[in-house]
Subunit: 136 residues, 2 copies
DNA sequence: CTTGACCCTATAGTTGCTACAGGGTGCATA
DNA sequence: TATGCACCCTGTAGCAACTATAGGGTCAAG
């Protein structure tokens, strides 16, 4: 059961270039090669790449994925580290949601304030432009 | 009233490197220089950079900021284009919020499922790892 | 006349890919 | 056997939007 890079990509929903990129940054091992210098993947690489994909789909950045991978190899270890990593990531996601929600609020207020007309009267532009401050 | 790049940065809350970057990509004009080849800014650049900052703070990407800037110069134009631009951006922000909210849901379910123990029993790792599929 | 804060240019690094350019391989088909 | 096509290879550059570094120059104060 040897997979080409394209087959591995199809099996995991990953682009070929991305797989080679993961290899380059050491997230995937250098696989054995065929006579024609094609990468030949097996079950373990398929598993590893699936793991990576799932973690990425959950939004974990690559360095955290790397950490998760190495933690997952250490079966006897306390999983508190894994838990902490996931919690950190969740916190980060929540922070982004908070920021974006505030942004949405501001943006929709801005848009609502625009009642048409020319750019000269536009509330959006007016909000962005600096107040023409009086000077002596 | 001539400002150095550092003063302009302080006045607008922008790092010096960022100002130079904006100049390089044509978002800010090449300012006049002093005898010692220092950039010398005036009121118009201060206004323009403030505009850029506010738009960036509202999350507009640089190409949209560029568009907003050029629209704002065209005072007689219908502001519908500005409005559409802002609405597009709002839609984008809402899409991100939706995505992140789904992610938060998945992540917190994952974290809740982890009841401690070793990595071997860890539900987080288990979720990420591929199901050991039976083969004939 | 030296110290220190500031300025200059040019270039490389960040994250996570994606997209070439310019070639080689492998299989089917005429 | 030749040819076409899909796929593979390496290496490098590009994307957003900065940030940081190296290696220098300028200017005001003491």
């Amino acid at each position: 059961m040897a997979l080409t890079i394209g087959e591995l990509g199809k099996a995991t929903g990953t682009k070929v270039e991305t797989i080679r990129y993961y290899e380059r940054i050491g997230l995937l091992p250098n696989p054995p090669r065929t006579g024609g210098n094609y990468r030949a993947y097996g079950e373990p690489e398929l598993g590893r790449l699936s793991f990576i994909r799932r973690a990425r789909d959950l939004g974990f950045p690559l360095d955290q994925v790397r950490a998760l991978l190495s933690l997952s190899d250490d079966r006897g270890r306390d999983c508190a580290t894994v838990d902490a990593l996931a919690r950190d990531h969740l916190t980060e996601v929540e922070r982004k949601i908070t920021d974006l929600t505030a942004l949405r609020q501001e943006l929709s207020a801005l848009i609502t304030s625009c009642k048409g007309g020319t750019v000269a009267d536009c509330r959006i532009i007016e909000t962005l432009a600096p107040a023409p401050h009086p000077h002596g």
